[in-house]
Symmetry: C2
């Protein structure tokens, strides 16, 4: 069927973008916000640091009073107070006076520098210094990191651990983020059995897609629940309809049933609208997508490698962008170590082992060979306008790691 | 104190390696094994596919019978049976006979190829074919992915989604992995308060390290629980001692207390052994580590950027390797867009924005400036034997993404 009218990959991606949904916003404790996506701009409620802060353990004093001090020309000071972290001094530092200060404590009035304790000796309240400091030395100035009232992060920013620290410093104990999309993954296929070390009935095959695709969904920031359906139209229809009422996205694997055509696509056609079915790509040609009850459904292959490639090419971007996080392949250029044949009009995703300079495709390319994905760390992408590459040609490479959430 | 006898970074890493622990092994359901590390070799219990499998919907037949068939020279076959996925046929395909077959179904005896249904028409049991196939065409041969009895993955392999699929296909419903290390993160400092949008008491500072360091610990495959302790020797000692009895690793941030030296290191010295304190690196010079009750304790700075760098340089490797996963910086070469001064004898970790060709360091380098980590995506590493770089020099770069679990 689909072979006669394959959609181009670009067109399929565009059709999905036209149906892109974004999840609702929720407010969650900052402690749970790592790896979520900001749904609000972050405005600073405080300066950070909130005061001129000592960057060292030592003595707060007037830098000008230390000028000329050295090992051979020590200078004498009087210690008038001590400030621990979390404390402050009510005293003002005067000429040739010093206040003992801890890292993180506020610089007392009058002082403009901190001399590290390593360059001093003390005897009771008497301080001898053996080095000079410049004004501002060992002082972290108020608001050098964050200025109160300033916008410090924008909506749609992905919250890494460092953003998390910045948001906390700005005063947020909760933060607005996009909800994680919920995905129902429906595994179809009468031939599938659960993993077992015992002998498997004839014609049965272990269901590995449920594990790989669920992991990929979770690696896209989403929540996945697995369901199973047989190969009949009625079974698949019931499962898909229910999923379309309860989840944000539906995904299926498999679904070819003899003499009935592709039962999953028949269900999509019956319950909603098919966006596309059949893409000029390899592996993954039978990929389809549709819309049911306003929810997008991805119909992935039963073949493991085809399903993974279809997910990478179609579903990842959709799931990322549902959460307000933009996603595009981070394509880098590498030199191909082997000749790679391809076909005009088809986009190829060729499993490869790539490093900083080269890419070498994995030779076993069958769409059922999970090992080709295990041996690989990247795709070589051959555009539909290219007929393949010679050895030493420059090729487009996407590392698997760069696809992860 | 430590300034006079700074350990080199290499020596500090070596001291930690000498005290490297590995977690126990646990057996978990395959569904929970994504992003864990194998603690056993994986031997295949089955061939995969377990039989010669059809790769297409179509007709199983004898390839030789199709030779010469074309649009202008159709050939006639008789349909003798039909096989759905999960089923098999007891019949043997004879000369000019065909069996309807679904993708994933076993090739029946006698047949050696599958002709796609797109190149055929049917009328009852009569099949007309318009194309020829070669022997083996559209057949996924038995065991092309996995051969029964073969070792397909080795102990210490990190389980990505594709490894997960391979392990399932090999017949494993449970798998042995290294336990996640438990880490107690003790935040010290009387100056620290929780994030709030309200005005903060004088001399107090929002505690952001608890969020960033916990996220980094979890990004290293480990489990983190946060505790707090004041700045006194007794408080810190009680918290650290308890943690050393209940957790695999202890981590502290802060802990400078006036007139008492570094209280956290005093506690380590009292309860166990200090491995090092003070490293010739920037940021992060005051980094320390020790061993208490056989557990390693990392004493990180209170300064946020220093703490993050210390974690990346010292703790990540330790936590990865506790779980049997080797870790080393993935150093790539880039051209520096700016001059970078450094100092002989010190390793610098300079926050930078890097791309495929260039690295440009973030100008604001204070160890308290969280924003320098937010703006950056990488470190430029300047070895202790280098005095810095000129513009356009080639520098060593590590991308933050490459550090993650």
């Amino acid at each position: 069927m689909f072979l006669s009218k394959l959609d181009s990959l670009k067109n399929a991606v565009k059709l999905l973008q036209d149906n892109q949904k974004v999840t609702d916003i929720e407010e969650i404790p900052i402690a749970e916000a790592h790896k979520r996506v900001l749904a609000e701009d972050i405005m600073a409620f405080h300066d950070s640091p909130p005061f001129d802060k000592s960057a060292m353990d030592g003595f707060a004093l007037i830098a000008e009073d230390t000028f000329g001090a050295s090992q051979s020309n020590p200078k004498e000071f009087k210690i008038v107070d001590a400030i621990g972290a979390g404390d402050f001094s009510a005293k003002t530092v005067g000429e040739n006076e010093a206040i003992v200060i801890a890292t993180g404590a506020p610089i007392p009035d009058g002082a403009n520098a901190v001399l590290m304790k390593e360059y001093t000796t003390t005897d009771g309240d008497d301080l001898t210094i053996y080095s000079q400091v410049t004004p501002g030395e060992n002082v972290s100035p108020k608001s050098e990191d964050i200025k109160k009232g300033e916008k410090i992060l924008s909506k749609n920013t992905f919250i890494r651990y460092q953003e998390l620290g910045l948001i906390a410093s700005a005063g947020y104990d909760t933060v607005k983020v996009f909800k994680k999309p919920t995905v129902k993954l429906i595994i179809t296929g009468n031939e599938l059995v659960e993993p077992t070390k015992e002998e498997i009935d004839k014609a049965k095959i272990i269901n590995s897609n449920q594990f790989t695709i669920k992991a990929m969904i979770e690696d896209s920031g989403a929540i996945c629940e697995i369901g199973h359906a047989g190969d009949t139209f009625e079974e698949v229809k019931e499962a898909v309809l229910k999923a379309s009422e309860e989840y944000d996205v539906i995904m299926t694997t498999g679904g070819t049933a003899i003499s009935k055509g592709d039962v999953v696509l028949d269900v999509v056609d019956d319950l909603g609208e098919i966006l596309f079915h059949g893409i000029a790509m390899r592996p993954g040609k039978p990929a389809g997508a549709g819309v049911i009850n306003g929810k997008v459904i991805f119909t992935l292959s039963g073949q493991p490698v085809a399903a993974m490639s279809q997910f990478d090419v179609l579903a990842r971007k959709y799931l990322f962008e549902m959460q307000g996080r933009s996603f595009d392949f981070n394509i880098v250029k590498r030199t191909s170590q082997l000749k790679i044949p391809s076909q005009l009009g088809r986009t190829d995703f060729i499993r490869a082992v790539s490093d900083e300079t080269h890419a070498k495709h994995v030779l076993n390319r069958g769409s059922g060979i999970i090992r080709s994905m295990v041996e690989a760390n990247s795709y070589i992408i051959i555009d539909e306008n290219d007929e393949g590459y010679q050895k030493d040609d420059i090729v487009d490479v996407v590392f698997f790691d760069s696809l992860l959430w």
